[in-house]
Amino acid sequence: MAQNKPAGTTILEVKELSVSYGHVNALKSVNIEVCKGEIVVLIGANGAGKTSLMETILGVNEVDSGAIIFEGKEITKKSADKIVRSGIFLVPEGRGVFSSMTVTDNLLLGAHHNLKGSKEKMDYVFSSFPILGERKGQVAGTLSGGERQMLAIARALMSSPKMILVDEPSIGLAPKIVNDIFDILIKLNKEGYSILLSEQNVYKALKCAHRGYVMETGKILLSGSSEELLNNSEIRKAYLGA
């Protein structure tokens, strides 16, 4: 396995994390690390535990053992609203926007814990995503898949997060839109957001990330820099069809 010691200060560290739903072990002693300013990708098939890991970091699942450390503070047993307050925001799989609510309301939900300055944040979001500005009065249910994904990302930005977890953003989107979404993530990363991404679109994800972890049945199988993983023969065989 490739040496995987990231450079820079750690923002998120997951140590020996285990989670189970009833009798099913969803995560088995998972260790990952994300540094400030990095995009780190979790690669794996359906059911590998990517979503479980993200939701556990966010405080939604009960932890059996292990620890989650964010900016040097343990957040393992904290509730989701406290963790969101501390600066982590999730862009859920399947977007998770509220379809009966307007674009503006969806954005303001992201800023729920700190509405101060939400006007300025909203202007910033609309300048980054002009299409959302055009549709701000429409209910989210009328948006296209790509627009909903943008809304979910924009909603994350409204919370002024230090770190964004993005769960399978490319799922169900046309290839051109997928490219747009990855461009957006790279742009956000350049603006300073640390990003933990989960993807099945392995090639594209590794092209945009700094490092990656390969997950299978709740375990971390491999880790390394994006180049190492792209050149890894097992990964090429399993995920890239080469």
Partner: protein, 296 residues
Amino acid sequence: MEIFIAQVINGLSLGSIYVLLVTGFNLLLLVAMIIHFSFPVVVVFSMYIAWIVLGLTGNNIFLGVTAGILSAILFNIITAPMFQHIMKKRGEVDINSTMVLSMGLGMIITDFLSHSINSGFPIAFPDNLTGRAEGAFLKFGLISMSRGAFLALTVGVVFVSGLFWLLYKTKQGRAFRAIAEDPNGAKLVGLPILKTGLQSYALTGFLGGSTAILMAILLGSASPGLGDQLGHKVLAVSIIAGLGNLKGGLIVGLALGILEALVQGYWTGTWSNAIAFVIMLIAILVKPKGIFGMKL
């Protein structure tokens, strides 16, 4: 024609009461995620508390009204941990267990009222609260409105518009709507589910307590069985409008009030319940998911 208008106005007043009760029930269903079909029983309990305090204070209206409203808020908040205990374990609407809890609370209240207060006889509210002795509060020809009818209608309009303002214009309301649409999604964006749920208990308590006072003024009396009777109607109105559909509840609640008043005005008061339920039966046969659709 004047009789018709008079009865429609009466119906709107009675309908306002139904609307307030259905709205409270729907809010608990949407935000706290419980089926509290004994909510109207809690409201009748608050009528009794108001009556007791009125009796103890020599019919001091301010104290009686305050006690009635506070008792409903307190009752809701005190019972909330029991409901939330179930909700925390299930995470989603668990109709069976919250219904049993609600039913149990309703039975305890009804039993308590029929054994321990006024020997189970109906209670009558004093004239200085109901305004009965003064006669009509407003009068135009044959059309007249009692104080209770006038208050029920105006307070109903004010409260329901206030509620929609709260739901659509405030931060708390936004959180309410998000939880109502998708509790898990709401958790993922960091909304405090239990705390927001608790706020909905307090809010519906306030709605319920205020409705108790309006009912005391409008009806002038209460009996231990009133809560169950209203409970059936509120559940029926909510399901016929579409469970959790606030706007639907508003329309069907008012319609039920008008229907009952028209039956009383043109036919016979004693049959108004049965006729109302026959029409509701037909409505549910034609539209099993409710006239305006469920919103859960």
